[in-house]
Structure formats: structure tokens, C-alpha cells
């Protein structure tokens, strides 16, 4: 297990955002968390990357207890997150933002680094075109691309993606999921949070369904996407 989460409880004041959440992510797989608005998905990811404090429970990464480690140490260990709402550095250029993604990398002058940058530009040609534009003036979708690209630049072992498809045009959504697959192929473990449950389940090796802060079902992606109750609740009926 690359990531083990055990009995995790996180509060916002008296609101228990997540309660006794336990799951694991096997190295090299894609795992997904799905659930309604406010179910606690974002909270879970923020806790994994150290932005939220833990009330109870433990988080282990690669066998190491990181429950109380500050965010930057987790990045050092290889956890990278593309946050909900993008979180680009508005006053930095696109290139500088991507560079920030590689903040802790020691090989910033190397060819490998260049190659990674080129790969991000391949994935999102728009970013290449706008290399020098300030991130704050990019459109919503463009910023989303930047946030994903930035997370990739960290070359993480575990990539946390919080609603990567939000605000993207349909064509790009297709691409994003393809990219997730590719990254995973190259050895990165992915934990994906998505409202676009159909797509997420299709890619996921394992999936967990969060309801009001608790995991109510787990299984393989295929299993869950075939399940009728899941279909009704998260894949949308007919429109």
C-alpha cells in the first residue's frame, strides 16, 4: 500500500466533515472518491496533503506515519495535489507557475526537467502559447489546465486531483481522463475526486463512495459503475 488512511476524522468546528474514513491506495493504481456536494471529498484530499488538521486517525505514506507532518514534508515524500478551485499564483506567469510545481525538485536545470515541461505543453498547447501571460488573467479553464500541469511538474509518486474536469470544455474533459490514464501507466499513483463519476469510475482500479463524511461503499471502478444504486445517485438519471 502506498497510501493508507485509517479511521480519519476531520472537523470544521462542530461539523464533522469526515468521520472514521479508512481506505488505501495500492502503488501504481488509480483510486477515486466520489460523492455528493459536501460529502467530504475535498476535505479528505486536503487532509492528505496536510492543509487540514486531523482530529483522529492516521495517515501513512509508504509505510511512514505522516498524520501530523506539515505539507512541505509531504511534498518531499512525493505527494502532489491539484487543488479544487485551481489555486494558481495569479501574479506569476504560466511558466513561473509550472516552475513552482517543481519547487522541491533538485534537477531543475536538467534535461529530464525540460522533458517534463515539454510534456505539459504537449498536453495543453494553450499553456505553451501563453507561457508569459500572468496566470491571474487566464480564463477559468485555462487556469484549471495550469493547475493540473503544475501538479504534474512535481513528478509525484501520488497525485491528488480534486475535480480536474471542473470548468473544462467537453473535448478537454475527454483528454484529461486520457492523460490521467497515461500518467498512471508511467507509474504515478493517482487519487481522483470527481463529480464526473462515470468517467472516474471507468478509469479507477478502486473506488470509494463518500456520503456525509463516511465511506459507504468501496469496490473496483467497474463494479461500482455497474451498480444500480450508484448509477441512480451519482451517474445521473436520464436528462
Amino acid at each position: 500500500m502506498l497510501l493508507e488512511v485509517e479511521g480519519l476524522c476531520v472537523n470544521y468546528g462542530h461539523i464533522e466533515a469526515i468521520r472514521d474514513v479508512t481506505f488505501g491506495v495500492e502503488e501504481g493504481t488509480v483510486a477515486t472518491l466520489i460523492g455528493a456536494n459536501g460529502a467530504g471529498k475535498t476535505t479528505t484530499l486536503k487532509t492528505l496533503s496536510g492543509l487540514r488538521k486531523v482530529r483522529a486517525g492516521a495517515v501513512r505514506f509508504d509505510g511512514k506515519d505522516i498524520t501530523h507532518a506539515p505539507p512541505y514534508q509531504r511534498v518531499l515524500l512525493g505527494i502532489s495535489q491539484s487543488p479544487e478551485g485551481r489555486g494558481c499564483f495569479p501574479g506569476m506567469t504560466v511558466l513561473e507557475n509550472l516552475d513552482m510545481g517543481a519547487f522541491l525538485r533538485k534537477d531543475r536545470k536538467s534535461a529530464a526537467y525540460r522533458a517534463d515541461l515539454d510534456r505539459v505543453f504537449d498536453l495543453f498547447p494553450r499553456l505553451k502559447e501563453r507561457e508569459r501571460q500572468a496566470a491571474g488573467s487566464m480564463s477559468g479553464g485555462e487556469q484549471q489546465m495550469l493547475a493540473i500541469g503544475r501538479a504534474l511538474m512535481a513528478k509525484p509518486r501520488l497525485l491528488l486531483l480534486d475535480e480536474p474536469s471542473m470548468g473544462l470544455a467537453p473535448k478537454l474533459i475527454q483528454q484529461i481522463f486520457t492523460i490521467i490514464g497515461e500518467i498512471n501507466q508511467q507509474g504515478t499513483t493517482v487519487l481522483l475526486v470527481e463529480q464526473n463519476a462515470a468517467q472516474a469510475l471507468k478509469r479507477a482500479d478502486t473506488a470509494h463512495i463518500l456520503e456525509t463524511g463516511e465511506i459507504v461503499r468501496s469496490g473496483s471502478g467497474r463494479e461500482l459503475s455497474g451498480d444500480d444504486s450508484v448509477k441512480a445517485a451519482y451517474l445521473g438519471g436520464d436528462l
Binding site: M138, M145, P170, K171, Q195, G236
Partner: protein, 269 residues
């Protein structure tokens, strides 16, 4: 579902005309001679790839940006150089792609700020508690509460806006915009971050809003929502208008498919 407004006979009054609008940021042309209009009582969709210029279009309409050339006409009158609050008072209201509420005011107060847009109450009215003040105040409160009921968050009217969940914050944005009593309501990706079930509810809400007599301009990337709710669609790409038509026409437009929808439509079940 298109029996209201535009199609129910009578002349097609244009609420808003975007007339040959171009806007540049440095070397970048974000909108390039874009023209379209919005007719009274319709729901118009504005779609296009990321960075096509949709939000910019809103920004030009509401006075956040000044067009480099061209103009926007509202009720036949140009909006150029008008202060932003004046534009709102004329009857255009919007929501924001990145939610921007008055976070430490209550839900009800947020909506009342919108409702105040047309109020004539001033400092002296407030200080002297004139009948005008009392009258306007109670009217605004009633109206605000009604709107909260319409969007479905009236139970939380006394909560701080910041404490609402993401979805409820989007609902509050819509209520606040509606409270300004607009003729034209512009929604910028209102469904972002919603799950399919919630998107359904949102569609109903948008229809209801239209039925209340508002004209709606909608930016959205979720095709099921857009196709399901709009009367007409304008498509932008690279700042240029590449198509305009009914949902059915747009769905089959090869240029739109190539630029925006993508060939592989596997998730549009």
C-alpha cells in the same frame, strides 16, 4: 419547452445586442468582432472552448472591461462608459465564475444588497426613518426572502454566506443577482462542481427563473444542461463567433463538434 418568450408570437424584442465587439489585451484578441443578440424571455446559451472569450463577453457587458471597439446595446441604448452599478440598475445582473459573495454578511443581507439596487433610500431617509425608508425596507426583505425560497436556501437565511457549501453558495449568487431586478440574468458556469443530480435541479431552477419573466444568458460547459435548457446557443472560439442556432442545430454543427464537443461523445449517454 420553448413555448415562452421568444416563440410566443409578438415581435422579438431584443433585450441586448452585442454589436461587433472587439477587445484586446496587449497582443491578445480575446473577442474579435463578436455580434449576437438576446431576445426577451429566452434562455441563450453561450458556449465555446476554454479561453474562447465567454467570461470576457460578460465582463464587457457588465462594464468590467471596456471594449476596444464595438459596443453593447441594452434596450437599444449603448452601455459604453457607463458605470458598473448603473449598468446593473439598468437591468443586467450576473453571477461570477469564481464565486464572489459578501462572505461575512448573512445570506439574507447578501440578497438584500442586490434588492437595494433600485432603492432611492439615502442617508437622511435612514437617519430620519422616513416612510420611504420603512416601505422600501420591508419590501426588500420580503422580496429577498421570496428569492431565497425560489433558489431553495431560505432555511439558511441567517447563516453567514461563507459558511454555505459550494453548491448553496452558487444558489445564493443566483438569488442575489435576481434580487437586483434585472431584465437580463447572466449566469457564468452555475453548474460547475455540481453532480448530475444537482445539475438537474439547477436546470429546473433556470427554467423557473425564465418563467418568472427574466431573460437568461447562460455560460456552461455541461452539454446536457445547455442542450436541455436553452432556446438558442451562440458558440465562440478564439474570440470569434463560429455558430449560432437552436440546440439541435448546434449539436450537429461540424465546426462546433470539431472545436468544442469532440468527436468521441461517449459520456453524453
Amino acid at each position: 419547452m420553448s413555448e415562452t418568450g421568444a416563440q410566443t408570437g409578438g415581435p422579438l424584442t431584443k433585450v441586448l445586442e452585442v454589436d461587433d465587439v472587439t477587445i484586446r489585451f496587449g497582443g491578445l484578441t480575446a473577442l474579435d468582432s463578436v455580434s449576437f443578440d438576446i431576445r426577451e424571455g429566452e434562455i441563450l446559451g453561450l458556449i465555446g472552448p476554454n479561453g474562447a472569450g465567454k467570461t470576457t463577453c460578460f465582463n464587457v457587458m457588465t462594464g468590467v472591461y471596456q471594449a476596444t471597439s464595438g459596443q453593447v446595446l441594452f434596450d437599444g441604448k449603448p452601455l459604453t462608459k457607463l458605470a458598473r452599478h448603473k449598468i446593473t440598475q439598468l437591468g443586467i445582473a450576473r453571477t461570477f465564475q469564481n464565486i464572489r459573495l459578501f462572505r461575512s454578511m448573512t445570506v439574507l443581507e447578501n440578497v438584500m444588497v442586490g434588492a437595494d439596487a433600485h432603492s432611492k433610500v439615502g442617508f437622511w431617509d435612514a437617519l430620519l426613518r422616513t416612510p420611504r425608508h420603512r416601505h422600501t425596507e420591508s419590501e426588500s426583505t420580503t422580496r429577498a426572502k421570496e428569492l431565497l425560497k425560489i433558489v431553495g436556501i431560505s432555511a439558511r437565511h441567517d447563516e453567514l454566506a461563507a459558511n454555505l457549501s459550494y453548491g448553496d453558495q452558487r444558489r445564493l449568487e443566483i438569488a442575489r443577482a435576481m434580487a437586483t431586478g434585472p431584465k437580463l440574468l447572466c449566469l457564468d458556469e452555475p453548474a460547475a462542481g455540481f453532480n448530475p443530480a444537482e445539475k438537474l435541479k439547477l436546470m429546473e431552477l433556470i427554467r423557473r427563473v425564465r418563467d418568472e419573466g427574466y431573460t437568461v444568458l447562460l455560460i456552461e460547459h455541461d452539454m446536457r444542461l445547455v442542450m436541455g435548457v436553452t432556446d438558442r446557443i451562440v458558440v465562440l472560439e478564439f474570440g470569434r463567433k463560429i455558430a449560432e442556432g437552436t440546440p439541435a442545430e448546434i449539436r450537429d454543427n461540424p465546426a462546433v463538434i470539431a472545436a468544442y464537443l469532440g468527436v468521441d461523445e461517449e459520456d453524453a449517454s
